[in-house]
Structure formats: structure tokens, C-alpha cells
Symmetry: C2
């Protein structure tokens, strides 16, 4: 028994040794940077992840569109990978892009348009230490992007004057809020499962007031939702339908919009397909040659 | 004019300096390794990319399913990112996974089941230096995976006895070929736009012969195609429909299969959604808790 075991073990180790690695090295992907900006507007340091396309030795002065992404700590790897893959010479679905991921400090404060304690279930959140507090700082956050982040990125990287603002959940809400209040800050917007429920549908009502028929808004927006509304029987999905109907009926001149509903995906899986579909939509008319 | 220019320049630089980065550092993503294996079976060195889930300090002995991916140089970053994201505690669509990307040396040789010079258009490729030559080495390639790569991975990494074989185009063909000829090599298979056209639909005919009604095949397979067949008026799409009909009608016992058609995607963009949908399908019944 022991002899047999030793034989098996010997054969096993011989076999393993015969396919031993010659060499193991770290894998190198296109590198990204972490920049820390001292923001005077937000009165705090902000971490920014920045991914640039692979150096094109045939065109060192090439300039790139920029995707500004909220929730950098959550979705930066995904968007950096999409930028690399979809911009590859043999894929060519979008141009190679710079991806700027903004890392949260106080997420609710930065991404919500108003101060509110009305929670997802329409009830006041009265907890002493509420996740909803502080809120309503999106205007200051957009000012940080406009006056501090964008000048930094445009100074230090080879940017083209075409930029996208992309976010998920509260980030989706902030993306739509920016389109409504400062549309010229970006050229295109992606709002994945925007939290329209915030403050009794504040942004949805603002959209209805702002985007009157006859308005001109030469921008592109992609928005989506997943199973949220069905999973919890909330207004998540009906709010998206309302927003889509509003854009379709009021039909601002020049606005290119697409809505996708992913009933098989959850709040957290849908960004995988929605960011892909959003980029595909924004660059649908782009041709590399 | 000069004074005014200097004033503008001064204001500009003051502004830029006021938002200067305090600090720039390299971005760190979950690291991967490059292992070089000296294969006796293939008589050459093979580069393998290996991505392991983030170290879970609460469970250092945790073991993981393994995804073996063909065309490592093309799709490893994508699958490593999907494994990280979809396996995250707040996403939980799939278990955290090890991703093993096999880098090509002679792609046509390794991924095709037969020697053939009948090209995509059904004509003999008679070029002196044909991209189709050599071909027909998939059996040896699967032997390399079984007898050299898998033992290496199982020895050096914390693997679970659940593995997936995933490929695109010729890699999709190789994935189906493996399911038909060595089904027990893997537990689940992903075939994104498999090149069924190879050698006058060799693998499709083999499927018809192999998967007779009443056969037992307790495996999972996801397969898909995109606009290929429409774009070039070829049999690409009808071949996928035939394969799907065959699996549905012959209905091997225990076989779980899903087919997705992405008419809006190209041969090169569809892997983004197909690999995601494939992983979602394979782990549809997986629960983390």
C-alpha cells in the first residue's frame, strides 16, 4: 500500500516537474495613474484614476476624447478595459479614449441635486447617522469638475474637445442633472439606472420643466434600468419610462437619446452591458477611417 | 496686446497651479501573472496569463473555479475584469474565479479540428504561405491543456474542481469540439461565434453524429453569434441556428444550453456581451450564501 502510494506520488511529481514553469513574470496591462487633486471648491483632496490609451508610436500627438466616470472605485477597471478593447485597431467600435475615474469621498453629498431625507421608500430617513446626510452638493461637485478637474486633465493629457459624463445609480442621477442644468459641460451623457426617486422625483420634475418642446439641446444621452423596479415593486422602472416618454414627446432639437431596459440584470450587473451599450450608442456614427 | 496676453497667461497659470496635483502614483489593479510553460506535447514554450481573485484575508484557503480562455492575448483583460467585477461581494453574479488565458503561437493549428484548406468562402486557399496552414492540431492542443496546463494550474493555484472552457471564433469552434470529443475535460463551455464553417461544417456534422437522442451529457454550454452571417451573406448565422436546433431536438440528457444572437454586434464587439451572458448563464443557479 505504501509502496503503491509512493509510486503514484513519484509518477505525479515526475509529471508535474515535467511541465514546470520555466519562468513567471508579472502581467502588464496598459497602466493607469492615481492623481490626488487638492480641491479648493470641495475643500478636500480628491483621488482621480486616469487611464490613457496605449502610446501610438506612429502618432505621438494624437488626441483623445475623455470619459469622466463617477464612482471611480466601482467601475473604473470596467471602463478602462472597454476603452482599450473597443478602441483596438481590430475592433474599432469607438475611438481610443482617456478614462477619468472620480473616486468618492462623500458620495451622497456629491451626486445628489438637493438636500433631502426622503429615502428610497418615500419615508423620511431619521437615523442620527443617516447615509443620506449630507446631500445636495451636486452643483459644487460639477463646479469642481468644470473648474478644477477638467483644466487639470486638459493640461496634463492629450485631450480632444469631446467628453462624456457617465454614472450609475446616484451617478446616473448626477449625469442627468448635469445635462439639465449645465448641458454644455459635456458632449454626451450616460445614466445607468439613475436614482430618479431622489427627493420625490426632483430630477424627473426638473426635466419636465427644463426640456420644453422647441428647446434645442444638441447632446447625446443613453439611459437604462434593470430589474430594480420589479424586484422591489418601486417606481424605478416607471420613472425611466416617464423620462424616456418625456424626451421622446418634448423632442428637444438635436438631442440624440437611447433607452435600454435590462429586466434580466440587477442594479449591480447592468452596468456591464449598459456602459457597453452606452458607448456603442454615443459613437454609433464614428468611423476610424 | 502683450500685457493683456501676459495677464491672461498669468491668470491661466495661477488657475492651473491652484489645482495642481499633490501627488501622482501608479494605479494598482488586481495583479496577474505570465507563466511560460515548456510543453513537451506541443514541443514549444507556451505563455499563459493567470489572474487570481483578490486575497480574501478571512479565508486564505478558499478555492476557486477556473476559466480556461483561448486567445489569451485578445480577451484576457476582459475576462479578468469580469471575474473581478461579477465576483465582487456587492455584485455576486458569479463566484470569484481564476482566469487562465492561453496565448496563441500557431492559432489555426491549435484551434482547428482537422487539416483543411477550404476557406471561409468555401474555396481552397492555395496561397504558398496560407494563414490556414498548419491546421488540425486541436486534439494535441486539448492534450496539452489536459496533461500539462491543468496539472500545472491545479498544483500552483487554489483551484476548485469546476472549470470552464471559453473561446471566440476558432476558439469557439475548439470549445464545441472539446465538448463533443472530450466532454469531461470541462464542466461548462462558452463558444462565442464559433467558426462552424471550418472544413465544410466538420464540427456541425460531428455534433449531429455524436449527440444522438438519448445521449447523456451533463454539461453546460453557451453559444452565440453576431452580424457575421448577415454582413457577408454567409452560413455563419444559419450554422448557429442548426447547432441550436440540433441540441434542442436531440436533447442530450443533462445538457443545459443557451443560444444568443446579437445582430447589432460585430464579430469583434460581440465577445463583450457574449462572455458576460455566458458567465451569467453558467452560474445562473449559483448563490453565494
Amino acid at each position: 500500500m505504501t509502496a503503491r502510494y509512493l509510486l503514484v506520488a513519484a509518477l505525479f511529481f515526475t509529471h508535474v516537474l515535467s511541465t514546470v514553469a520555466q519562468h513567471t513574470a508579472p502581467y502588464k496591462s496598459t497602466p493607469s495613474e492615481v492623481v490626488t487633486l487638492a480641491s479648493k471648491i470641495l475643500k478636500e483632496d480628491r483621488q482621480i484614476f486616469i487611464h490613457v490609451p496605449k502610446r501610438d508610436s506612429s502618432n505621438l500627438n494624437k488626441r483623445f476624447p475623455v470619459l469622466y466616470l463617477m464612482d471611480g472605485e466601482s467601475h473604473f477597471d470596467m471602463l478602462a478595459q472597454y476603452a482599450d478593447y473597443l478602441g483596438r485597431w481590430d475592433v474599432e467600435a469607438i475611438p481610443p479614449m482617456i478614462v477619468v475615474g472620480i473616486v468618492n469621498t462623500k458620495r451622497t453629498r456629491d451626486l445628489t441635486p438637493t438636500e433631502s431625507i426622503t429615502n428610497y421608500f418615500g419615508k423620511p430617513d431619521t437615523a442620527a447617522v443617516s447615509w443620506m446626510k449630507p446631500s445636495g452638493g451636486n452643483k459644487a461637485f460639477l463646479q469642481f469638475i468644470r473648474d478644477e478637474l477638467m483644466p487639470y486633465v486638459n493640461t496634463h493629457y492629450k485631450t480632444q474637445p469631446f467628453s462624456i459624463f457617465a454614472g450609475h445609480s446616484f451617478g446616473g442621477l448626477a449625469s442627468v442633472h448635469c445635462l439639465l442644468t449645465q448641458p454644455n459641460l459635456f458632449d454626451a451623457y450616460i445614466a445607468v439606472s439613475p436614482s430618479f426617486w431622489w427627493d420625490n422625483d426632483y430630477v424627473l420634475k426638473l426635466a419636465d420643466k427644463t426640456l420644453k418642446p422647441g428647446t434645442t439641446l444638441t447632446k447625446t444621452i443613453f439611459y437604462s434600468d434593470a430589474s430594480e423596479g420589479v424586484a422591489d415593486n418601486s417606481t424605478y422602472h416607471t420613472n425611466l419610462l416617464k423620462f424616456d416618454a418625456l424626451l421622446t414627446e418634448h423632442a428637444p432639437k438635436g438631442l440624440s437619446h437611447q433607452y435600454k431596459y435590462y429586466p434580466a440584470e440587477t442594479h449591480m450587473t447592468s452596468p456591464v452591458v449598459a456602459y457597453f451599450d452606452g458607448l456603442r450608442f454615443i459613437f454609433k456614427d464614428w468611423k476610424s477611417r
